[in-house]
């Protein structure tokens, strides 16, 4: 085995193959930085180019690309609070506050080194488990997949510390929106609102971007300052500090790598939740995490980044051993296997073992190379945090809107991103944890799917399966323990049930509760006419959420606000630091300013959408960026022209020429099709 591994290493060090690997890494880093683009897009585009290569070079190119998107996705996450891929949403929680403190360099240093360790660890796990790969995978049936998903879902409790009722309600809502679209059991269209856009369910990309990126941008616009404010940027020294952090917390990094690699191997548990599960794990197990997570604790960055790079090695396990893609990009990689005459399955672990090892080496080398390149250039990236808000804002907004549109290349994506942006902003401001929503959204559908499969295949006998029992026990423990701690903080159960007063506490949150009541209530009433299989889970979860909502509302309205703030999510802190607790009368002035600026920002976004509808995306980008810089910042004309034309040309070349993005059709283009032929995207 070792001989085979070293033989594969020699094969991989062929200069030409290394060149392909390097090319893949550079493309992957580029795709990782841009929200909405990632490994899936890269795989689909690069695949045809690998036909003429030998198998080793082909995998070097494809996996070089696929392995490092989660290394560079840290850059926008830390700098702007915009996740570069869905796998780095958890990095924002602590990475972005660090950048705000002027410690972007440290966050980068820690993130890259954790990514590197995670990535190599994932490859290593794959390498050592080769002899036992097939038997282990064969013991994972639908009930076990269900248990894994439940385990992930139970992480919501840890992720909603400080606001358990709200967290669970939000998770329930996440599960409900995961049910949108055709039901696999009966084909019933659930909550599709009669639009084809929702037929296959809400796409993940615009939901993630809306929920996490837009609120961050809104607050940036409201605070009217560059990301790092007046603080200095810790470029080189900070990076060293970050690397030291990684080694200081090496045991955490190893743990999340292990978690990421293992969960990566479970089909259905995607990159979008692995980072959150790791983050939740760290929040629960690290000392003092409850107080500092969400405020720029380096351990939060390490947890998220270590896990999301480890996942790639894990995802290769079912792909290589059984031809079951562990992730969406792996499904495309399967195509590459076939082109090169390789059959995923037992052959890959015996006859073609050298190819398997070269795949492992590709992942490991790509991670090293990717982290290296990022280290070399982050000095420059970190300085972006000093750029003036009126320049940086329209650029990021443009990129994330086009990125969100990558979800399903439909107008619906743009509406989704804005709606979830609004929801995310209110949640952030009003102290509702957002991570449980993503967890519920991604895992809810998996749980429903495998619940029905398990029951229809095994009746209820599957519950007694030992792996299932162990996993469910761990899940239950992970679910209950944080809640117990909450209860203890609140003075035990008697404390939770006391302290009610007669004076009602009415504020903006009351309105939010009201909207939530109506929304979940309406959704629930719509389920009545569905077939049994289609309505079982939505009704159970919807009812549960509704009940929690009532409890939360009573608590909120009739209970004196508790003194201790132990949110591991950024928002409770944000509320504290921004002093936006509306119940305090003296803040009324500041509140007015916030509302005014928020409305202006919303106006810009609506204008952006209106522009797309009227004159097309690229012309809108040109006009939007230019006018934002002029109106909000009174920048110099020369700068305005160069920035706005620059981003428009960049978008044209990348999205129109290279990615053949089907632009949304504009009104003007519909009226005069000739314009569409001359001006792209009209």
């Amino acid at each position: 085995m070792l001989a085979m591994a070293s033989k594969a290493f020699v094969t991989m060090t062929d200069p030409l193959r290394l060149m392909y690997l390097g090319l893949g890494v550079i493309i992957g880093l580029g795709l990782g930085v841009i929200p909405g683009l990632g490994g899936i897009v890269g795989m689909a585009i690069l695949l045809p180019f690998t036909f003429s290569l030998d198998a080793y070079s082909a995998f070097a190119l494809l996996l070089g690309m696929g392995s490092v998107t989660t290394t560079s996705d840290t850059i926008p996450a830390v700098l702007f609070g915009v996740p570069g891929t869905t796998g780095s949403a958890a990095t924002i929680l602590d990475g972005h506050p660090l950048a705000k403190k002027g410690q972007a360099g440290r966050a980068f240093g820690a993130a890259y080194s954790a990514s590197l360790i995670g990535g190599v660890f994932g490859a290593l796990l794959l390498a050592v488990s080769i002899p036992i790969l097939r038997p282990v995978m064969l013991s994972i049936g639908s009930p076990e997949l269900l248990a894994f998903a439940v385990f992930g879902l139970c992480m919501v409790a840890a992720l909603s510390a400080g606001a358990p009722l709200r967290g669970l309600t939000v998770a329930g809502f996440g599960i409900m929106i995961a049910m949108i679209g055709g039901d696999p059991q009966s084909g019933t269209q659930r909550w599709a609102l009669g639009t084809l856009y929702l037929y296959d369910g809400l796409p993940l990309v615009p939901v993630t971007i809306g929920l996490f990126a837009l609120p961050e941008l809104a607050d940036m616009a409201i605070q009217r300052r560059s990301i790092a404010g007046d603080s200095k940027i810790d470029s080189r020294s900070g990076q060293w500090e970050g690397i030291k952090d990684t080694f200081r917390h090496w045991w955490l990094v190893i743990r999340v790598s292990w978690l990421g690699a293992t969960l990566g191997a479970v089909p259905g548990i995607g990159a979008a939740v692995i980072d959150w599960i790791a983050y939740g794990h760290a929040a629960r197990t690290e000392k003092g995490a409850a107080e500092t997570f969400g405020t720029g604790d380096i351990r939060g960055v390490l947890a998220s980044e270590g896990s999301n790079n480890a996942k790639e090695g894990g995802a290769l396990v079912p792909t290589i051993a059984f031809g079951v893609p562990g992730s969406a990009s792996m499904a495309i990689l399967l195509g590459a296997f076939l082109v090169h005459g390789l059959q995923p399955g037992p052959d890959m672990l015996s006859k073609n073992l050298d190819v398997t090892y070269s795949i492992i080496w590709s992942v490991a080398l790509a991670n090293i190379l990717g982290a290296g390149i990022c280290f070399a250039f982050s000095n420059q990236f970190a300085k972006v945090a000093l750029v003036r808000q009126p320049i940086i804002m329209p650029l990021i907004l443009t990129v994330i809107m086009v990125g969100a549109y990558q979800g399903s290349r439909n107008w619906g994506d743009l509406i989704t991103v804005v709606l979830f942006g609004l929801l995310g902003w209110f949640m952030k401001r009003l102290g509702w944890p957002r991570p449980p929503l993503i967890l519920g959204f991604v895992l809810g559908a998996v749980v429903e799917r495998y619940y029905f499969i398990s029951v229809s295949r095994y009746d209820y006998g599957w519950v007694t399966n030992p792996i299932v029992m162990v996993l469910l026990a761990i899940a239950l423990w992970g679910f209950i323990r944080p809640l117990m701690r909450e209860a203890k903080n609140a003075g035990g159960f008697t404390g939770m049930l006391s302290g009610y007063s007669r004076s009602a506490n009415i504020n903006l949150n009351t309105l939010f509760y009201g909207i939530a009541f109506v929304l979940i209530g309406v959704m629930l009433t719509q389920t009545v006419l569905w077939k049994y299989d289609a309505r079982l889970v939505p009704q159970a979860i919807g009812g549960f959420s509704f009940a929690l909502l009532i409890l939360g509302f009573i608590n909120h309205t009739f209970k004196a606000p508790s003194k201790s703030k132990t949110g591991d999510d950024a928002k409770s802190k944000a509320v504290a630091t921004l002093k936006l607790d509306i119940s305090v009368e003296t803040q009324a002035d500041e509140l007015q300013v916030v509302i005014k600026r928020a409305l202006i920002f919303l106006g810009w976004i609506v204008g952006f959408l209106g522009g797309i509808a009227l004159i097309g995306m690229l012309p809108t980008i040109l006009i939007f960026v230019g006018s934002y810089m002029w109106i909000e910042g009174r920048e110099r004309l020369k700068l305005i022209l160069s920035v706005s034309f620059g981003i428009t040309i960049f978008s044209y070349v990348l999205f129109d020429q290279m990615l053949s993005l089907p632009w949304p059709r504009s009104l003007l283009g519909n009226l005069y099709p000739i314009l569409r032929d001359t001006i792209p995207s009209m």
């Binding site: 897009v41 689909a44 055709g182 037929y199 059984f322 195509g335 005069y672 000739i674």
Partner: protein
Amino acid sequence: MKFAKKLGVLGLAGIAISAFSATPTLAQSVADFYKGKTITMWVGYSPGGGYDTYARTVARYMTNHIPGNPKIVVKNKPGAGSMLVANELYNVLPKDGTAIGVIGRGMPMEPLLGNSSAKFDASKFNWLGSANNEVSVCVSMKSTGITDWKQLLTKQMTVGGTGAGADTDTFPKVMNNILGTKLKLVTGYPGGTDVNFAMERGELGGRCGYSWTSLKSRKADWLKEKKVTVFLQMSTEKHADIPDVPFIMDLAKNDKERKILSFIYARQAWGRPFLAPPGVPADRVNALKAAFMATMADPKYKKDAVKQRLEVGPISGDQISKLMADLYASPKEIIEAAKRATNSDEKTDVSKAVIPTETIKGVITKLRNGARKVSYKGQGRKGSLSVSGRKTKVSIAGKKAKRKKLKVGMKCDFTFRGSAAKKISCG
């Protein structure tokens, strides 16, 4: 004011331009039209899947066979199993020959089956051709001991499905409803590879609705090591590779069943259908059709396709149009029966629709539950019928009688539909 004026000028200019651009189509040859233009090939699925792979491979070579050699760009617009692209091709996208597409093979049936979201008439599309014709098969794992479909008439086997409406879900239902097999469908798997994996670990006994070419290329080891038995093939024509595997069309018991089956499996003929919107000028459509078939015969395309394990078995656009016209001319009762056969979970419902009323002369062999169930034997057949107190007409020696009066050993004429007795008149 100034702005409004400008807008007005822009509008006038626009009208002038569009008027100008509309006139010359008459005199223009196909090559003139396509020269320097870009054709967009719309794919109704995400990048990387089967339809997308076919589209990208065809697009690479088709440009060389269209007069004027336009550039072909592939754009993915996934949604509702390609219904989005089908709707847009029919209603929105340009009808000048610069927009073509690939949609799911089941999509043309949607309007017929009454899906109101499908806003097109598939018989009016300009069909350019199909890259192959698909034969779908049923496989069973060795451990199940099933090697012949007839065993399934008495024995149960679990098959996996990927969701309501998918071939993997529809085809087992059709078999149960028409052939009377006892397949148990466990559905909801995320994709075909997950179904295969579940078979491998023994969670499922088999799969019905598996493209033969995909099985051959992706699971060659299963066939080589005889891990699975291919026990049925489903399409409108047999596949040359597997002449000995029973063919579903041969199993139809009567003409009506045959019609229903050919309605359901018609889609297999156009495995990967390429199409242009209705209303594209005829000369361009003809050029595109010819270019499609020329691409299929292009050695470079073939080499590329073989390398990617794509089957080359083209069907011409005219053939598809003809099949589609037949499909759309199907009598309403066949469509309704097909709808039931593909949807119904209850076998009996469909057997009412499909199986005609029969009369058999025979003997009562067993009575159960106060003659609510009557078993019979006769004319080389036996079976059991449910006797309704209200709906079943029972007569003994020519006189109307209660079902309780029936006795084992009586000689009777049994008239029934499915398992429901209509009339029992005994000696």
